[in-house]
């Protein structure tokens, strides 16, 4: 869906050592992966070609939330998801995914005495 490139790059520009959305494949291979998981997003994304016709990317981003809320929601969810499907992008922001991390040891005991020293915060009832 290359018609999304200008919109996607307006949302996620290339800066700060990070690629733009289109450079990262968020309108290409990674968007395909998103749409494989969420085929229902394809139609609203395709519809953006119509709802943004004649607008610059800047104008489209400004207008879409009201003009085409379904397309806007699909754009901001699918393109952003596709961007972070790219593992190189995630590495650059230090995000390793939702990993299995065993719970650590108790880390609160040194802080509890202060709470215990204060009055209870409930009202006793009969």
């Amino acid at each position: 869906m290359r018609h999304l490139d200008p919109l996607a790059d307006r949302l996620i520009p290339g800066e700060d050592g990070m690629p733009s959305a289109s450079e990262a494949g968020a309108t290409g291979r990674w968007l395909d992966a998103v749409l494989e998981a969420r085929p229902d997003l394809r139609a609203p994304l395709e519809g953006l070609a119509t709802s943004t016709a004649g607008l610059t990317a800047e104008e489209a981003i400004e207008a879409l939330p009201e003009r085409d809320p379904g397309g806007w929601t699909a754009l901001t969810s699918a393109v952003v998801a596709a961007y972070y499907f790219n593992s190189e992008v995630c590495e650059r922001i230090g995000y390793a995914g939702q990993r299995a991390i065993p719970l650590g040891s108790p880390d609160y005991e040194d802080l509890l005495d202060s709470v215990k020293s204060r009055a209870p915060v409930y009202r006793p009832t009969p």
Binding site: E15, A33, A37, C90, R99, A100, L111, K116, R118, Y122
Partner: protein, 528 residues
């Protein structure tokens, strides 16, 4: 089909009731309109889960439109009603914040001069809290100064983490309450549960098997004891005998075939919307006119703080790391009554750093500065979730939808719910205090999240309990005043909403009521 007790609904109250009755030898049949959760769709370790979670594990039945769902017209409601219609009920998608009610929650009229007292006290319910906490495998720490002394849950609490330590230190300096969080999340292997591995997907199903949803903690044991759990069984109506007692129910299977279950006693566990819907459809138990009235849904607030330090908040129990009940009780000079509970939560992965909730439209992330803002938020943010008590008002209600039906022709539900000024004032106060909390903990920036509708996880009050049949639907053990072999054991019965996540109290009340049903079975009027 004949059975000793018919239960409608396989969520937490249905599960607790079915298991307890089966342990005492009752022949139990359960009708559940949905199906078992399909955890093969909870691919929580894959990036795809970020885009499939809301579709496959979403909370809104109108958006989900699964076979077990029914439409809810919310056009006259400030809050969207959320639920999971399937085995496990709300526990499949709850945050597992296991909060007992505080003593004052049972004495709101006596202490604060508003709403109503409950027909029993915290002390009456406390032994049942202790027992259900063992059945669910609750984690937490005894000695919380927000509750009377007593036995704590069976598992140790989750670590409070970097964010928790910052907030705990701040609250100690402020002199404000906090305590390690009580959670229905296992911190060690326990029964059918595995230890939590902190993927922060609790709100969209726990495929790791650490969250105590009753499809894991109760239904396997109940069905082993012989409970007949029938899924994809949508109750069309409760049946009434010539003597006025309830005879059981007629249900539709997935193919639309009609079946009847006959039972001497019927227990409704279909949540604060489903239960009044069934009673209104069946024309039962409503001499008080209160069936469906006094709907309470807990307005919800969120305050986020941004920190320089890495908090590790992309993951963790979600859930909550700790809770604060400093402002739970009514304050004399605040201009409103009652209060709220706060839970300190992680904020999740990169997609959640870009959404309008909780960050607010004024903090839109798009365009120049996008990456800088993601880096500032990701792993460096913590948030307070605020559960506000809303008072019961008869104009807030569940009705039958006069036009729409579910996919099998059963009348749909409509809710009418408006927040009152007490709720608005209460939320403003609590959000301001939560902001102070995060600032004291070191947040260099805070965001009070915009109000959103989709927070009606807690559906309460629509079949109010009480001693007077003129002003209540059921008695203190869930028995309908009008129909003595018909019971309501879910959150519909709450006279007031508390400001707590309700599952702990729903479960404890279900156990208490089930045992009362067992004790009184010999003298109970039963259907012929």
């Amino acid at each position: 089909m004949e059975t000793d007790v018919l239960i409608v609904g396989a969520g937490p109250s249905g599960a607790v009731t079915a298991l307890r009755l089966a342990q005492d030898g009752f022949k139990v049949t359960v009708l559940e309109q949905g199906d078992w959760p399909d955890y093969t769709k909870a691919n929580v370790a894959d990036p795809e889960f970020a885009v499939t979670a809301d579709r496959d594990w979403g909370w809104d039945p109108n958006l989900r439109a699964a076979p077990g769902d029914y439409p809810i017209d919310e056009s006259e409601s400030d809050i969207t009603a959320l639920m999971w219609n399937g085995v496990g009920g709300g526990t499949v998608v709850y945050a597992a914040q296991w909060q007992r009610n505080m003593p004052s929650d049972f004495r709101v009229r006596s202490l604060d001069g508003v709403a109503d007292d409950w027909p029993f006290t915290y002390e009456d319910l406390e032994p049942y809290y202790v027992r259900v906490e063992k059945d669910f495998g609750i984690s937490g720490l005894a000695g919380d100064t927000a509750f009377p002394p007593g036995e704590g849950p069976p598992l140790p609490p989750v670590p409070i983490g970097v964010m928790g330590r910052k907030v705990a230190r701040a609250h100690n300096e402020l002199g404000w309450h906090w305590w390690p969080a009580p959670l229905a999340i296992a911190t060690r292997p326990y029964g059918n549960l595995n230890a939590c591995v902190q993927r922060a997907t609790c709100l969209n199903a726990c495929a790791d098997g650490a969250k105590a949803s009753v499809d894991r903690t109760h239904w396997p044991r109940a069905t082993e004891l012989g409970v007949n759990l029938i899924t994809n069984a949508r109750v069309r109506t409760l049946t009434t005998r010539p003597d006025g007692l309830v005879g059981g129910a007629v249900y539709l299977d997935a193919e639309g075939r009609e079946h009847e279950v006959r039972a001497p006693a019927t227990v409704l566990c279909a949540n604060g919307i489903g239960t009044p819907r069934l009673l209104l459809i069946s024309g039962l138990a409503n001499s008080s006119g209160l069936v469906g009235k006094r709907l309470m849904m807990h307005p919800f607030g969120t305050v986020v703080g941004l920190f320089e330090d890495d908090l590790g908040s992309t993951q963790g129990p979600w859930g909550q790391h700790l809770h604060c009940l400093e402002f739970y009780e009514t304050g004399a000079d605040r201009g409103f009554v009652r209060g709220a509970k706060w839970g300190l939560q992680p904020t999740g992965g990169p997609l959640k750093m870009t959404t309008a909730y909780p960050w607010g439209a004024e903090n839109s992330i798009w365009g120049a500065g996008f990456h800088d803002n993601v880096r500032r938020r990701l792993g460096h943010s913590a948030m307070w979730g605020i559960i506000a008590e809303d008072l019961p008002e008869e104009h807030n209600r569940v009705e039958l939808d006069p036009v729409n039906t579910d996919r099998q022709g059963v009348p749909a539900a409509k809710i009418v719910y408006r927040m009152n000024q007490n709720s608005y004032d209460l939320m403003d106060f609590h959000e301001a205090r939560a902001k102070e909390s995060l600032e004291a903990a070191g947040a260099y920036e805070t965001v009070i999240a915009p109000f959103i509708r989709a927070t009606g996880w807690h559906l309460l009050g629509t079949c109010r309990m009480g001693d007077d049949p003129a002003t209540s639907v059921v008695d203190g053990f869930g028995r309908c005043h009008d129909v003595p072999n018909l019971f309501v054991f879910d959150g519909s019965t709450w006279p007031t909403s508390s400001g707590m996540n309700p599952t702990a109290t729903i479960a404890a009340m279900a156990l208490r009521s089930a045992e009362h049903l067992i004790e009184t079975r010999k003298t109970m009027a039963v259907a012929a």
